[in-house]
Amino acid sequence: MQVNTDFYTADDTRLNGEWVAAKAINGTNYDLSKPLDKSITFCSSTENSPLLNVQYHACTTSNSYTRQTSVKGKHVIAHEIYDYITEIQKNSVNLGLAWTAQDSSYVLNSSYEIYKRRWANDRDIAVDFKIKPMMKYPYNCGALIANIQGFEIYTNPEDESGGQWIYSTNFSYDIDEYNDYRLNMGSNDNINHQTIGAYITKITLKWQRNSQIFNYPYFGYFNVDNQYMIQHLMRYHSNHTINEESSEHIDLMCYYYGDIIYGNFNSANGVSLFDGTNFIATENDFSAFNSSFIGAKIRYTLPEEELLPFPTYSRQYNSTTNTYYTNAGSWGYGIDVTQFSTDNLMKYVSTFGLPFMRDHSSSHTTAQFQQNGYIPITNNGLYNGKYMKYSDLMNKPENLRTPDEQQVYQKYSTGNGNLPFNYGSPNPNNPTPVNPNTDTKNIEIVTPNLTTTSVFNSTYAVTYTDLDALRSYLWNSDNNIFDRIVENTKLFNKPLDALISIMLFPFDVRRKSGAGATTQNIVFGRTALEGVQGVKLPQNANAIFDLGNATLYPQFQDFRDYEPYTTATLYIPYCAPVKISPSIFSDKTLRVKLVVDYITGDCVGVVYCEGIPVAFSNGKCGINIPVSAADFSRYDQKVVNDVLSIGKDITNGDIGTGTASTTLDFLQSFNRADILTKGSASSAVSTRLPQMCYLEIERVQTSAFENYGNTIGFACDIYTTIGNKSGLIVCDNPIINISCLDVEKQEIATMLQNGIYV
């Protein structure tokens, strides 16, 4: 069944109402077709004090209820003492319960003023407003009935004396629709100074099946610890009347009532589940909601069936045993507690289409709901008991969400289905902006499956020994082999063109290339070079290097930790230095990853802060070893040697002949600046620079003397009463609201601005 969940939005302006003057239309003297966009909504209570003046009944003697006045004007702790129950069964499963109260005398007659009384002018004939019920009784056996009464008085609007209830009206209406309602005045003769206000005196649910009427339907359940909790479902959603500015939000209240005891239970007698003496919510339970609740009774449901109410009975008190017991002979239905699991219970709650919590202590804040709350998920647009944890839905990848989940997700992520504990927007005319963006706390480097490595050419990781073997093979003394090499490279202008590049990297490439890389003969052109091996890099060879992390910690814990007093530069090997702004990164952990291009030798240092890349620095860590492109007919050892010896010759400052030096010399002595084109220095030079990242932090030094604070004081920006401070304080533009002479006020102001000692 479909449930109205459009119960509250931050920009809800429905609650501001006004008098509707009579308008002649089509021969009638009113116009209800005019869209008012002013309505009241039945839903949970509000942060501010409702206008309730709930009175509760306490059973003090047998067969009677004593009406007691509210404990507080705002917090009304109402409890009724019902049948006494003994020990709760241990390890019992949770029960899906709903709670109603019987009509008539059991009803706690509270009235909600929905339209503030005011004087009527001579053209006023009625109060028009719209009513939109929040929810529907889930088992399709109820229709919401509201009893709205008008109150007409002939004196001051603020004075109830002499007033009388008039225009009692019962009406029922559809759940999902705004329903027009008109409360007519009597004779507005503008002589007797009539006023009119509108009240809701009852919100009842008519259970059609058995024609029982239940006021203030609630939902209650036991949580996993067998502690009774109750959710208040039906309330008047406003703490003001519709002709006053209101500041509401909806609470889905979970009241914790502590350990409930029940024991030998005769459901046939309609015994309630709990003892009213235990069923007391303390003031603290209401602290977040400033609301009230009405006394409780429990009724049972049969699994998967309709909620079956049963009336309660007044208690009989046994003064000897100091216990209470119920009257026998009433009807009721029992429940097999084993049939109703926690999951069933949560499904039941979900059919109301409302978000819910499972424990009272965490039900008070939006942040806690985001972590622990549940939201119902529709099924083809209807709520049939499916639910999800709010955090699970929010974190579920979009491509995995069902259409229903996506709809609910958008509702809650865009603010159209505000979480139930939204205290942030008290004024519906000034809503809190909703961030339409998807915030993320983590952006990682991508490891692509397709790269430029080993695409049309072959890329091998080799050692110096392998390069030596390559040279030897290419200049093979066996003419057959040599000729075959030349033959197999005829595709190229020059045979040596098949040797595209040789590059030196400052790390072991094979270690980074992953387990899939295996050693194999290098294929040169069409020739597999026997005895010349390398590790062929796969397409997705890992080319990301983690260079570690460090924290830009705030040494001073004050303004000196930021620019210009503290500056920082991050040095990334083979890349340009990166300026780090303490204003952004103070007390944050920086991590650097180097992404390398195996083909060009280029690299990019990626600076992360708290999982987000915040800076990029280009560089080059691969050192090109120039490969001669001479005509293969003139290909000779010298040319090949050039491949290997240029580096060595470079080390000696000579380009030309020369035998290859030792490997270590070869590796350690590059100093050709023109090899590189990017970065702050050539990669060859960079091989001699620090091979790790480091953060250079420059901090200011101050020279405040020992008693500086009490003599000069430190800058601050505080607004507080003077008595809350001690020591020296210097004030700015103090307002002297003191009963003294003006000259004294001026002196006080001057002294405060110059500084006083408290």
């Binding site: 590059m503 072991d508 953060l695 430190f714 006080i748």
Partner: protein
Amino acid sequence: MDISLYINNSDKRVLHKSIVNLATVSAELVVPSNIVKPTFSIANANTINANYIYCSKFGRYYYIDEITFASGGRKIIKCSVDVLMSFANAISALPVHIIRHSVKPSYVRDLKLPMLPDKKVENAVFKGGDFNLNIANENTYNYIINVAGGTQQGG
């Protein structure tokens, strides 16, 4: 009227002064006077150590600015009101915007805080990285060779 004589050991800028009561004496207000800068005449025998008084009639505390010996065995004491002590409770209850205080520096930039011209430099080294040039040898795979290669035909 009666005035109470005190010794005040606190700076003028202290809100709640530390005062030591000496005596309560009878005084005459020398006219013309005003409530902010009154002049009292007291008997000469009274203590001359006091530097602070309280006048209950005016409900204010005063600094003794000047003591003059007059004829008739009188001392003339000129006073000026101590607005802080006189209205200490009301001042304590004032909500104010405080821009400097004696507590440690805050995140508000303090241009008065003296700073040295030289900065202290720290270097935080990142832990991590795989560079190996300092330990590489002829058998480490520090080279990448890119070759044009197709179907191998054998060596």
